[in-house]
Each structure stands twice: as C-alpha cells, then as structure tokens.
Symmetry: C2
Subunit: 362 residues, 2 copies
C-alpha cells in the first residue's frame, strides 16, 4: 500500500520512512564523475551501500564502468536488473555458492575475488563444467588485516595457477584500504592510503614482470576516492557511501551531500524530552548515535528497539505527531533495515525505490 504515498509531501507520509533526496543523490554522482573525468581511474561503485538497482543504473549512466557487490545474493539482484559488469569483492567458497556463481556467469559478466589456489581450482572446474569462463581477480591484503594474499611476489604462484586454469580469466588484482578510509585528518589518511596502495602496486609490478599483467587494479572506498583514485596504476575505485552519504562520512568527505535521512514522528513529549518512533530497527548504532537534522534546538539521545529519545537545548516545544528528520550515522547498515526508499525532490515524494538487495547476506 505504501506506493500510494507517491506525490505526498515528505512530512505527510507514514513514519518512520527512509527518505532519499534525489537531487542531492544526483549531485553526488555528478561530483564523483567530474572528479574522475580527467583521471585514469574509473568508479565501480560499491552497491552494498544502497542495494538498489535503480541507483546502480544511475551510477552507470553517470560514467561508472560496472558495480561492486559484497555478496553473491546482491550480485544476483543486480544481474536480474540487467546490470552486466559486476565485481563480487569477496571470496566465494564452497560448492553451493560456486554453483550459484557459475549460474550467474551465464547471464552477467560476473567477476570474483580469489585468495586461495584450491578455491581457484574449484571455481575453474565448476565454470568449465557449465561452459562459462569466470572473471577473477586476486585479493591482496593491503593492511586492513582481513582477507587477501600478502602483497608482492607472494601473489605470483596463485596468479600463475589461475592463468592456467581453463575456467578462469585472470583480470587483475584488488585491495581494500578499509583501515584508512575513516581517518579524520586528510594528511594522515593520505599517508596511510598511499602506503596501502604501494603494496597493491608492488603486486601489480611483480605480476607485470612475471608476464601476467593485471588489467584491473581495483581499490578504494569513499573516504579515499581522491587519494586512491589518483594513485598511479589504480584503474578503478570501489567507493559506495559517496552516493547517499551518512553522518559519519560527512566528517570525512564533506564535499558530498547527505542525501539520506529518516523521517520519524514524535509519539510522546514532555517539556525538554520527547520520544520518536524510530529506534535500532530503523537506524543502526554501531557508528554512534544518529544526528538530528530537524528540528533545530533538539538532539538525539539514546535508542531502544523502536524508540529514540530527544533532548531539548533551545528548540520550540514538540507535540505528538510532529515530524523530525534524522541523518543515519551508518548508511550501509541502516539502508539494509528498510524495504524501500521514499525518493523526494523539493520535499515531495516522486518515487519509491525498492531496496532490492536488502537482507541478501548469502
């Protein structure tokens, strides 16, 4: 029934609602396109943030060369929406998932990260049996301490084997400098990200010298788009949050706009305190308390499952039914709680876009 809310003012729709300012979104996409237009690197936006094929298509129209997914299930959603060039920036392990991956290769140009020779052989075998060739890149551990092979020559044995496997196409390498993207000080962020990229490019050089050129060198998040995105040898960046933004990223890359908010309503008010109908099941807390955008003179306090408390500094009194607008502290996980965006232009709901990849953790 929610589709009958198209055309309403955003202060009139039912609450809580995940609201996306279409104009701010499009300005963010244009800003990234403008930044990259005279650089060698392109953007392969990480769709784990928005999980929405409509937004992914807008990114492709704005010059993105493909998209990135965290999960196979997300990639299936995007491929069903007609998107072809998809990188799953994670390892796909085990026969169940490999069957799904190979199936996906029949109707998309799927590409997957690899860090282990046995996994590579299993991928090749399944692809060969299905008559497809899987695009693969090696994940390099560039300092975050998560997945990936060690940088430099350690990647060579794996790359050599992958190059010989008949079901695989060796496309290049990726590394995610996730430990650097949120460093508040720009100089320190730059130093840390460049150190990570030096590891990635060291690996590329070793591969080049070994006759296994890495055509794709993929890296980067939104917080390092202007560091990694200009680092020599990097061919694409996997920035995600720049599209919608959130309160935490606003402190890191303030040149992008907060396009994402939650509109909630007051359900209880008494003097300097009020309670709204949006809690942990509407806005995630791991990056801190969300930021109250409107009304002025109030701040968000604690969250419980379906409530958050407001405290007044010098704002006007609130009454039950009054609307408030909140900027999530972490967009990626907050969006993943919701089934749809209420897309607004000049405060009017102009569209409702499904968060089609929501919950696709498999």
């Amino acid at each position: 029934m929610d589709r009958y809310e198209i055309g309403l003012n955003k202060w009139e729709i039912d609450t809580p609602a995940l609201v996306l300012d279409l104009d701010a979104l499009e300005r963010n996409l244009a800003k990234m396109a403008t930044f990259l237009q005279d650089k060698p690197a392109r953007v392969r936006p990480h769709s784990k943030t928005h999980k929405c094929p409509t937004i992914a298509w807008k990114q492709l129209e704005a010059g993105a060369i493909g998209i990135t997914c965290a999960k196979l299930g997300e990639a299936e959603v995007m491929a069903r929406a007609g998107i072809r060039d998809i990188l799953i920036a994670n390892q796909i392990i085990g026969p169940t998932k490999i069957r799904r991956l190979v199936n996906l290769a029949a109707y998309s140009e799927i590409m997957v990260a690899v860090e282990d020779a046995e996994n590579a052989r299993q991928l090749s075998e399944a692809a060969t049996a299905a008559g497809v060739r899987l695009r693969t890149i090696i994940e390099v551990e560039v300092g975050m301490g998560r997945c990936g092979v060690e940088p430099g020559e350690d990647a060579l044995p794996l790359a050599r084997e992958m190059a010989t496997l008949p079901g695989l196409r060796f496309e290049g390498i990726m590394g995610y400098e996730g430990h650097t993207v949120m460093i508040p000080d720009m100089d320190k962020r730059r130093a840390a990200a460049e150190e990570a990229m030096a590891r990635l490019i060291e690996t590329k050089v070793a591969l080049d010298q070994d006759g296994l050129p890495a055509g794709i060198v993929s890296a980067g998040g939104s917080g390092t788009y202007n560091i990694t995105g200009v680092y020599p040898g990097v061919t694409e960046i996997q920035a995600g949050s720049y599209a919608t933004m959130d309160a935490r990223y606003k402190g890191v890359i303030p040149e992008f706009e907060n396009a994402l908010t939650v509109v909630a309503q007051v359900i209880s008010a008494r003097g300097d305190r009020a309670v709204i109908d949006a809690g942990l099941k509407t806005m995630t807390p791991e990056f801190g308390v969300p930021e109250l955008h409107q009304p002025a003179g109030w701040a968000l306090g604690g969250q419980s499952e379906e409530h958050s408390s407001l405290k007044r500094s010098d704002g006007a009194a609130l009454r039950p039914g009054d609307r408030v607008e909140v900027i999530p502290s972490h967009g990626c996980t907050t969006i993943n709680l919701h089934d749809a965006y209420y897309v607004t232009s000049n405060e009017r709901v102009v569209a409702i876009w499904p968060v089609a990849g929501r919950g696709q953790v498999r």
Copy 2:
C-alpha cells in the same frame, strides 16, 4: 529457492543462516508455561523478538493469552495470520496510523496503549466513525523514563475521559520496567522491578478506588518474568526474548536455552586468524560482540558489514568452507535482519519459517 534446503543438515545449508533449534524453542515455551501454571499472571509474549506468526501460534498453544507487538505493522502481520488478541504496547499517533489501527480492529481484538487525552479522543472518533470499539490501556511510566503517564492519581483524569469516549473500551494499564530487566544481580533486579511494579499497582489502586477498575495490568520482560510475573495485581507479562534467547539474556535468565544461532562459514584462514561470512548485516552489535558457540578454542573478534574475524586460543586449525555457529548478542534486532528461520531438530532443517514481521517499523 531457499525452501529446497528443508531436509538438509544444518551444516550443509548455504551461509549465513539464522538457525532456530525447534526443540530448545519448545522447551523454553514449556518452561514459561510451567512457571506460570500456578500463578495468577499469564504471558502475552512480545512478538517484536521473533516477528513470526508460527512462533506466536506456538506460544498461544502453550497457554499465552494473546500477543504483544511494538508496531502497528507487526500487528497487521499477526492479525493476517489469524491471531486475535493483540496488544500494541505503544502509542499510535496521527490520522494515517489511526486509520490503519481502526481498520485492524475490524478483523482482530486489537488493544493499544494511550498516554494522552487528545490521542484518546482521536482514536475514539475514528473508531466510532468505523463502527468499532478500540480496546485501550493506559501506559504508566514506571521508571524507565520513556513513554507513559506518571503513576498514581495522575492517571485518573485520562482514565475518566477514556471511560466516557464512545469508541474506546478501557481495559486497564501497562508499564514496562525495561530499565530493570538486564540487571545482572538477581536481588538488585528484584528490588528495582518491584519498585517499578509498586508504581504500576499504585495506579491500579487509584483507578479501582475511582470506580474505573483496571482488568488488565500488563508489564514485564523476560528478565523479570519471575519477579513481575508473581507481583500481586499484575495480570500478564510481556516477555519476548525467553522464546529464542540470546547471549546477553543467557547471563540474566540462564534457565532458558539458546535456541537461536547463526551458522556461517570460514572464507579465509591463516594460522591463528580466520574470517567468516557474517558481519553487522547478519548479527547486530549493540549488545556486544556475538558469542562463538562452535568450534571450541576460537573466539569472535571485530565485525565489519559482511565479515567477522575469529581468533584462535587452542582450537583446531580452520579452513575455508568450515562452518561455525554463533549466538547473537541481541536476538530481537538480529532476527529483524533476516527473512527466514532455518528451523532444526537434531541438527536437521525441518522447516523454514518466514520472519513475516521483519522490517515492519511503521
């Protein structure tokens, strides 16, 4: 396609998966029923935890007198599954939501919490126009500092007005001692919960003396089921987490079993460190890091969106593809990330139950 996993062993299904041990669930429901069988109070389980009509029906079959919901959308899901006696333990504010509530009253015995006279008048007006009578209870603020009228005589003017409104049936009062349910020390928890219940019963006495008897006195969470559930005058308790449990509640009410786990798989392993394919989008973090249940000799470290790290103390080596089992730290919000439970008995998937109320924040 996930329904084709029925019949598999839980270690064979795709990952990550929200797994519910049916036998442990049923023992938890039986334990609550046994505890209450010779007590005056009954249980009205809070379905915000499980969001699953199948579990709600099992609770009704085990003696529950009805169910509790946090949100109107949850109540709509439960009513569509044929459940009649539903308490929304929150205020329903504004014309959009009141229309939905009155509509729901036509096919359920819905009951709603009220704390404000203007809201009561609006509810009555909408109910009268629709030809239904809404069941209502007054929410009393018993110390948590969230919603509700002050205890004692402050509830009288609102109750008197509600008793005269033609669209409402005044059923009684509720208070949620949420600030006490997690106090680790049982004596301190008892003292705090009893102090809260004294406020609630003081209100009931004031209403009785005013000729407005509170037939329903509803309170309590899982952490205080054996305090609030035996407090004189309390007629029903709203415990929710006792059914599925989670790692945090296990420290408070260890007599209930952890029926809820997440099965994930290792995607990367190197010596004393490993990475699994389940992060913040699979298991929520606000009550701390989830607890690794299997394998022994490993512990869960940090979580990112789709990964969690494992650290070895003295466990056997792990390899990509190995399964692990994790106990969520907060069941209510973790369940809300998932579309279905993989229901097991003796480790075999015997059913898949939709989390039908997932995302119903409106």
